[in-house]
Symmetry: none
Subunit: 211 residues, 4 copies
Amino acid sequence: MTEPRFSARRRDDARAGDKRERILRAAVKVFARKGFYASRVSEIAKAAGVADGTIYLYFKSKDELLTSLFEDRITRLLEVLHREVEAVPSGPGRVRRVVELQLGLLEGERDLAEVITVNLRQSTRLLKQYATKRFTEYLDLMASVIADAQHAGELRADVSPRIVARAIFGALDGIALTWALGNAEPGGLTRAGTQLADVLLQGLLPRPTAA
Amino acid sequence: MTEPRFSARRRDDARAGDKRERILRAAVKVFARKGFYASRVSEIAKAAGVADGTIYLYFKSKDELLTSLFEDRITRLLEVLHREVEAVPSGPGRVRRVVELQLGLLEGERDLAEVITVNLRQSTRLLKQYATKRFTEYLDLMASVIADAQHAGELRADVSPRIVARAIFGALDGIALTWALGNAEPGGLTRAGTQLADVLLQGLLPRPTAA
Amino acid sequence: MTEPRFSARRRDDARAGDKRERILRAAVKVFARKGFYASRVSEIAKAAGVADGTIYLYFKSKDELLTSLFEDRITRLLEVLHREVEAVPSGPGRVRRVVELQLGLLEGERDLAEVITVNLRQSTRLLKQYATKRFTEYLDLMASVIADAQHAGELRADVSPRIVARAIFGALDGIALTWALGNAEPGGLTRAGTQLADVLLQGLLPRPTAA
Amino acid sequence: MTEPRFSARRRDDARAGDKRERILRAAVKVFARKGFYASRVSEIAKAAGVADGTIYLYFKSKDELLTSLFEDRITRLLEVLHREVEAVPSGPGRVRRVVELQLGLLEGERDLAEVITVNLRQSTRLLKQYATKRFTEYLDLMASVIADAQHAGELRADVSPRIVARAIFGALDGIALTWALGNAEPGGLTRAGTQLADVLLQGLLPRPTAA
DNA sequence: AATGAATGAGCGTTCATTCAT
DNA sequence: GATGAATGAACGCTCATTCAT
């Protein structure tokens, strides 16, 4: 309300934060359409409605813009996942929730889906240096969901939680990729998610007796 | 046996015709290490032991070099897959074979794994224009293996073969990616493949009675 | 009057807008000295006192730089010619005026003379695509001066105005060429122009009676 | 008579000279179509039906190929001109002969016309270094025809033979240029030549009384 | 002599980044 | 903070020329 008018400088949240967010949103759109390397900083600036130089007031470089984008969006995704996972009691239910949630979110944001699945791999350097942080966090979440359920006897224990986590991530990624590159039909991701979860869960059930 | 007769430095003459192959091999190595965009044509030339211009005698552009790389390697992979799949009679056996085969092949060629999993996504254009051809062929193969087995009552029929195919591709891709980006421990891929196949196959079995 | 207020090194700010003109002038100089193809964009940039990239803010390509140069300079020449021609009442007077004017202008700008006479022919493409526009305009002006005078009975009517126009252009061009390539002695062009006009006008007079 | 058969090497005239000529002819064609700089040595080789490298057995460089072309063709033209000029007794007749002859020759060889008029100016360097030789010879011939006629009282003496020579060369060049760049209608050059000669000769006649 | 695959110097152009305003 | 004109390093590609055969 009191919104200091001219103290412009600080208050990274109101106007300034607004501009930062506008740039990020523009970046998602542009990166999604053309890929990181083929995207021009000036295009992003134009899409965001700011001057080229302005981008450098908020991000150190084009690289850091992509990095920040992941950081920002994946952090959000992780928060949602954490929250949702805790709200579900059973192990199998959690796995299903993660799968459906993730694809559901992406379905709502096709551009983001494309950036994450496609652009995450634009540079090996990015992947190796940055991605490890958040990406590992993501895999850890998934793996611990699996491991917990294994300990509880809800899921078969003869497979590595990490390998399963990677496979699930990959499966989701692959489905999102083909969906984003294809016609991206509405509901497609959700349906695919349900079927994937069905298969995975049946596949991960403890084998009756193995006897 | 006595090989070079009249010449001294003719070392590479024997394979003069495979200059194209030498360039492709160098490209795999360089692309894998730095990604498509960060790779310099001159680096590839140097790695191949040819002059910069020589590359353009065999490939129209840097883009076409990457494209040709996929074309070449994936064609090979498809040939192997086709052959191997036909050699296995049972549906589930085929799925397992594909999974193990693919990861096994990649394990022997880490660089290629990295190029395929990472660089395939370097440019949306590449993916959209080129990949559709061979990639679709790949998905088709996988989907028809699934579908055939479903018709034979060997696999559950309540999931879409295409979706499963995409998920399997994604799972393999994800596993290969994390493996290539990680420590790439020997045997890692093979082990992961076995476990993935275990899970997938159990997940894809027709449900006992569904009762 | 007091011009620059707050800045010190603003020496070029007064003419910041004429950066385009500075580049054009540098281009005339460099093209004249080395010809279009042998001229390097970087040389022009250096001669203009700007960075290489700056040139591309004003011109789409090196080709377009040459094209713009002609467009710009020849448009100016045409304006002068049109104005001057109209100021002279008699047909023969107009022909003489055009001849003297054109060579007089070039004499003041040796570089431009060289660019127009030499570089205009650097590329058949340029000539065929671009030159037709302005060049035709030039020939039209000349031809209509001739034709008008023919109708007025001031010049012999048994020669094609177009052919005469081409010949006059060529004669002027040839004289300018040899002058620019030679020692370019001062006054040389003017003197040549007078003599050329003398010969042409006598040659174009209606023949007494031919009787 | 003794014509050594297999001493292939020497005898620049038979086979070897043949190939040289074939290359020159191909060069005329290609240069005419695309201009010197835009022409590729490999194109010329292809047009001549020889390997790229072969060209370098006959010409030191691409530059020298153009140079040799002029040397060769203009030498021929000069020979014809000299011979023909001597065959005509009167001064005015000689001027007319030169004009008609030159355009007549070009009309038969449009490509050559284009090479001479357009490509002669491809590089200032070429013009300045080489052209001076033969070109001066050409202008000298023309100027001496004029001067002789002036001395004989056949042409007005108040104009510089050199300037007139340049103007005539230019007029011929201009006419050839527009003809070659235009539709190159058959007979066009000949007709233009006649008219040009008419105008020039009337313009160069000694003035009736001048008294 | 003839070939043509190979060479590599060289150039036009792009675009992330800077900085005077 | 915001701007966008200017910068200039960097790179893909071309093509005249060479040289082993």
